[in-house]
């Protein structure tokens, strides 16, 4: 220490995609403050969509022109490596199509502060009020996802976790209809999320106590050099894991998922089910592979148990669900279990990059299909809003065969039927897992897929072979945005199911150099 503090270097170029999203979010706040009410939406929509598209373009530019950096950026705080670029791309694609869905009118409450059923609410609805705050909130959440998946340091990861989660807590409570459910989802998500981030933070403190640093690379080298690993370290690793498992919805930390997914406005559910899951898996991989890679003999058995429990709980509980969004939530839990198989299947560098590439591909395929499925859910409505109960979906295939057909196709993709993207996603994760010695897990995975296929097919049978209810739901004529989301998702599910090779190659390429430290 000679008194002179060196100014930190920040590679703005590499961080540009993220900064653009955060910048747009801040601009969004300014719009809320300055623009007249009637103009806000008209300004928000282009700002939001352009910033997401621009960020995506910057990622392409970065990957094509500059290649992947060898070193972590911003003094080692953020790692913009191959997997991070791929995950960013996936998050931005998913966020973009989710935004098209969020953009749809009639999803968000007119005046959140008004008590449901009160005269104030009626006034707000009559005036056509709308919370345009959802745009900057969603942008902050998306920026948080980008940061979360590329954090190379536990502190940044914690901050990113909160930046991602806090706006989502709010967004969950803004549904236009069934507001009691929505608010309940919001409160549950908030309390449990804060609770779990407390665990994450305490785990971080204990790991810091062991390693003397929160840098992922630093923790890794401390693990390699310091002998006699103490109990506090193990507790710390466990608590860090709890925070992350909560975010991906792994059992036994999955309890929030069905309630929140069901209560939240469906477009927000779509964003959470796709973007948050992708970002959380980015963070899981970084923590367990980069920081705790040297400890893999210790965490692997525990994660085996978590993965098995997650797959089984997701698949089995989904069977008796009667609400479509709840069923999709359990399906999302089961899919998180499948992805954990890839996280466990580590080995030498080649094995790791195989597993990583499989996870990356799976995240893309699952995310897109999920957004598509929730988009379909928004379109099937009856008098009280979306027709969530499965019995209301009976005979949908007779009323609107195209929509029901597309939804059936999404469900088949979830089930992993060949010629859908889900098949290659599962294949890409399971195949390296077998060579990585996780055969037992793959067997459980295949069995749970079979159980899961049962309830997907049950919905298909319900839609196509049951008599429609007399006062059944109507299929709303979709807005351009919703129609675009369904089309894009269906097209991607087909294309990735028939021509997966280019994207598989891309994932391979992104995964080839693994994570930088």
């Amino acid at each position: 220490m000679n008194g002179a503090i060196e100014a930190p270097t920040i590679e703005y170029g590499q961080l540009m995609p993220m900064l653009l999203v955060f910048g747009a979010a801040v601009v969004g706040v300014l719009i809320e403050a300055l623009a007249p009410r009637y103009l806000r939406k008209a300004i928000h929509v282009p700002v939001t969509l352009l910033s997401l598209a621009g960020a995506f373009a910057l990622i392409i530019l970065q990957a094509v022109r500059d290649g992947v950096p060898e070193q972590a950026s911003a003094m080692g705080a953020i790692a913009v490596d191959g997997p991070a670029l791929f995950i960013w791309g996936v998050i931005l694609v998913l966020a973009f199509i989710s935004m098209l869905l969020i953009n749809d009118d009639d999803q968000f409450v007119a005046q959140a502060a008004a008590v449901p059923g009160s005269p104030e609410e009626e006034d707000a609805v009559a005036q056509g009020g709308a919370h345009t705050e959802v745009y900057p909130l969603a942008l902050f959440a998306i920026g948080g996802m980008l940061l979360f998946s590329s954090a190379n340091d536990l502190l940044i990861m914690f901050v990113a976790l909160e930046v991602m989660s806090l706006p989502l807590y709010l967004l969950c409570g803004l549904a236009r209809r069934r507001r009691l459910l929505s608010q309940e989802a919001s409160v549950k998500y908030f309390l449990l999320g804060a609770f779990s981030s407390g665990f994450f933070l305490y785990g971080m403190a204990l790991v810091y106590g062991f390693a003397g640093t929160v840098d992922l690379g630093g923790i890794s080298s401390a693990l390699a050099s310091v002998g006699g690993q103490d109990s506090l370290l193990y507790i710390g690793v466990a608590l860090l894991g709890v925070g992350l498992f909560f975010k991906i919805g792994a059992a036994p930390f999955q309890a929030w998922k069905p309630d929140v997914y069901q209560g939240a406005p469906t477009p927000i559910t779509a964003l959470m089910a796709s973007g948050t899951l992708v970002a959380a898996f980015g963070a899981v991989l970084r923590v367990f592979w980069v920081a705790l890679g040297n400890l893999d003999w210790d965490w692997r058995p525990v994660m085996w148990a978590v993965a098995i429990l997650t797959m089984v709980v997701g698949a089995i509980l989904a069977i008796t669900q009667t609400d479509i969004k709840r069923m999709l939530a359990y399906s999302s839990i089961a899919h998180a279990g499948f992805l954990l198989i890839g996280v466990i299947a580590t080995g030498d560098a080649e094995q790791n990059s195989g597993s990583l590439s499989g996870i990356l591909f799976y995240l893309l395929t699952y995310g897109i299909t999920t957004v598509g499925a929730f988009a379909v859910v928004t379109m099937v409505r009856d008098a009280g809003g979306e027709a969530g109960h499965l019995s209301r979906w009976a005979g949908l295939g007779k009323r609107s065969p195209l929509l029901a057909g597309i939804f059936a196709f999404f469900l088949l993709a979830f089930a992993g039927i060949p010629l859908t993207s889900g098949f290659f996603g599962k294949y890409a994760v399971f195949a390296p897992a077998v060579s990585g010695g996780a055969l037992g897990l793959v067997v459980v995975g295949v069995i749970s897929s079979a159980v899961a296929a049962f309830f997907y097919v049950r919905v298909i049978v319900l839609m196509f072979f049951s008599e429609p209810a007399a006062d059944g739901p109507t299929v709303a004529l979709p807005s351009v945005g919703t129609a675009a989301v369904v089309t894009i998702a269906a097209a991607a599910t087909v294309v990735l199911g028939v021509f997966p090779q280019p994207v598989l190659d891309l994932a391979d390429q992104a995964a080839s150099a693994l994570f930088i430290r």
Partner: protein, 98 residues
């Protein structure tokens, strides 16, 4: 010497966690979560002292800021549900289940 601080921090964390489980009022539950965060802060500062670097103390500041942000969001949500249900009990919000 630092062990005492760590024990205290663990106790605070445990009190916070148990408080989340046993208290019904959402505000109190939320305060218990804040207690857990502050237990973490204590642990960070202790470890910073133990390792002789400043990282831990710095992290404590970040945590405070995050906690403050969480308060804003949390109170907003809790107040909204209180206005709707005329109750801040977390057990009353029980429509979403099974």
């Amino acid at each position: 010497m630092t062990t005492h601080y760590l024990v205290l921090s663990a106790l605070l964390f445990a009190i916070g966690a148990v408080g989340v489980l046993v208290r019904r009022n959402a505000i109190v539950v939320f305060m218990c979560v804040e207690l857990m965060l502050n237990a973490c802060n204590l642990a960070f500062v202790t470890f910073a002292r133990q390792h002789g670097n400043l990282d831990g103390q710095l992290i404590a500041f970040f945590v405070m800021v995050v906690a403050a942000a969480e308060v804003v969001v949390g109170l907003a949500i809790i107040v909204t549900i209180f206005r709707t249900r005329r109750s801040a009990s977390v057990d009353d919000a029980n429509l979403l289940k099974y």
